[in-house]
Amino acid sequence: MNQNNKIIQAKNLIFAVAAIIVLIPYQNCARFESKSMETADFSSLSNQLIAGETYVPVSAPRKVDSITTGGQVAMSLVSALGVNGDRVAKVVNSSYAESTGYLPLILLSEYGTYDSVTPAHLNATSRVAQSACQQLVGVQELNLLKYDNVAKKIVDDRRHFRGILMGTETSAVTLRTYLDASQNTGEVVSNLHPDGAYSADVRYINSIRSLARALWGREATEAEISLILQKVKALQALPANAANARIGYRSAIFICTSMASTFDSLRR
C-alpha cells in the first residue's frame, strides 16, 4: 500500500514538474493585448443613461485583472471550450490534490490578482486546463468525425479540432485518405469533407485560431501559431511506436491545454 502511494506521489511530482516545464514557455503567448482586441469606446457607452440616472464624468480609467478560484477558472474553460452536459461537473469537481483541498475552492493566485500567480498556481491551473481539455478532446469531440458510408461523405461536427485524426475514429484509414490533401488532390476529395481538402497544417492552424477566439477573445498572432505548431510537429516527429500512438489526439490535447493555461485565458 505504501509502495503504491509512493508510486502515485512520484507520478504526481513528475507530472507537476513536467507541466510547468512544458507550459511556462507558452505563458508569453497571449500575454499582451494586441490591436485585434480593440473594442468600442467605453466612455461613450457609459454615458448612455436611463431615466433617474445621473451622469458621472470618467476619471482614472483602469483595468485590474483578477484570477480567483479553481471553480471559476474551470467554469470559464468549459464555457469557452463548450464542454457540455455531465462533463461540466466532472471538470469543475475534478480534484487537484487531496492535500490541498477541493478544487472549486482553491485560489489560483496569491491575492486573487493576475500578477500574483506563482508556479504552484500555474501547476494547479494547468491541471484544471488539462481536465477541461481531456473532456473536450477525449470525450466530446473524439467521435464527431466520421465517414458516412451511405452518403459517401465525411461528417465533421467538431467545434475546434475539425479534420484532425485522433486515432480511434471508425474507418480511420478511409478518413486519412480523404482528409489529407497531400495524399489525395482534386475535386472529388474536396467534396468529401465539409471544409474541402486541406493539409494537416491547416487543420491544426484552424484549431489554434478557433481556440484563440474562444479562450483569449482575439485572433492568434502568426508568432503564436508558429510557436504552437512547432511543438505539434515535434510531437508528430516522434518514432511511431505504441507509446507514441494517437499523435493527433496528443497534439490536440497539447494545443488545448497549452492555450487554456495562458494568462489571457485565465484573467478576468
Partner: protein
Amino acid sequence: MGGYMSHIRNITTIAFIILFSSLSLAQTVRYSPEQCKEDLKQVLSPEIKTARKIFLTLTGMSIPYCDERLKKMERLIKTGQPREAARVATADPLFYDIRVRDMATRWCHLDESVRNEINDCVAMVVGGMRDGMDIRNILTGNYHYEVDLEKVKVVNGSYPRYSPASNDHFAAIPRNGLSMFYTLKSFPYQKIADPAIEGATKTLEDPAGLISSRGFLSAHAVAGTNRRIVEKTFKEFLCTPIQELADNSLPDIYVGRDVDRAPAGDPQKYNVTCKSCHAPMDSMRGAFAYVDYSMNSGSIVYTKGTVRNKYVRTGISGHDTTSDKFDNLATVGANATRFAWSGPTSGNGMGQFSRMIAGSKAFSHCMVTNVYKTVCGADPAPEHKQLIDTLANDLDNAPVRDLRAIFERISLRPECVGQ
C-alpha cells in the same frame, strides 16, 4: 390481443414522456455551455469584442464569439443600447452563479473569502437578486431559499434535504453541478431547529435577513460575546471596519462587565484604546442578547426573553445586558455624517437593528462599493469617489433598489474595464 398491445403502447408512451421530461428537466438545473462553431472567416467587429468584454466582466466567464448571447449584445451595442446589452449578461445564469455568489460569499463567511461553500446566507442573496428584490430586503426580509427538490431529483435522487441544523443541502449544489439560478426556490419565514422536538423546525421569532441566517450566525455568533455580529455587520454592510467605527469621545455606558477597565493595570489604556471600539459596538450588541449558535446542534438558538449566558458576567463594574434593547451611539460626530441614519437608531432585537442598518445611506454606498469590488476585482480608487457616490445616490432614489442596475452601469465604466 389488441387490448394487450394497446396497453403496451400506452406504457411505452408514458415511459418516453417520463424519460424526455426528465432529460429536459436535467437541462434546467445545470449550466449548459453553447455548442456553436466559430466561423473563422468572420471578421470580429469592435462591438462584438466589446460585448465579450462586458459579458466577461459581469459573469467572470468566457464564451465564444459564435454564442447567440454575444451576437445579441453586439446588435444592441451597434444600435446604441449598451445598457440593454449589459442586461443580457445580468439575465444570464452565470451572472448569479459566479459574480453574485462571489459577492455574497464574502459577506457570509468569517474570512470574507470567495473560497467558501455556498450556504443559506449566500442562497438568500443569489435567489433574491434573481427575483429582482430590493437590496434592502437582504437585511430586512423574513424569507429563505431552498433547492427545489422536484427539480434536482432527476440528477440526484438522494439530494440532502434542507435543514436549519446543517449546511449539506447547500454544499451539495456545486458538487452536483447545479445552478443556483435554476434551482433555488423562495420560501417565507426563516427557520431554526426546534430544541423541543428532535429533527423538527420552527419559525425564527426575530428575523433579520442575512444577519439571522444560519450561515452568518454560525460564523459570527458561535462562542464569543456576540460582538462580532455587530462588528461584521458594520464591515460587510456599511463598509466600516471597527477601526473606523471607533470613537473615543463616546460614553462607555454600554460597555459590558467583561471588558477590563485597566488592562495590565493601566486604566489609561482602556480609556484611550479599548473604549473607542467597545463604546459604539457594545451599545448595539444588546440586539443579539437572545441569540446564539450551538455547535452541538448545528443550529441557531433563540431564547426570547432570556439573555444568553455569554452576556452574563460578574465582578468588575460595567453594563449588564438584561434585554435585547440596543441604543446606537454611532450617531454623533464623524459617525453622524458617515452613516447618515434615516430611521430609529435604538430599538429591540435583530430585526430592528438590521432595519436600522439597511435604512442608512452608508448601506447603499457600501452595496455599490461591493459591486465595484466584485466586478472590477479591486477596491475603488480614491479618484472613483464621485462615481461611487453618484451611483449610491441613484440607487437610493430608485423606486426599487435593484442592485443589478449598478452591476450593469459599472460594467460599462472605463474606471472598471479600462479605455
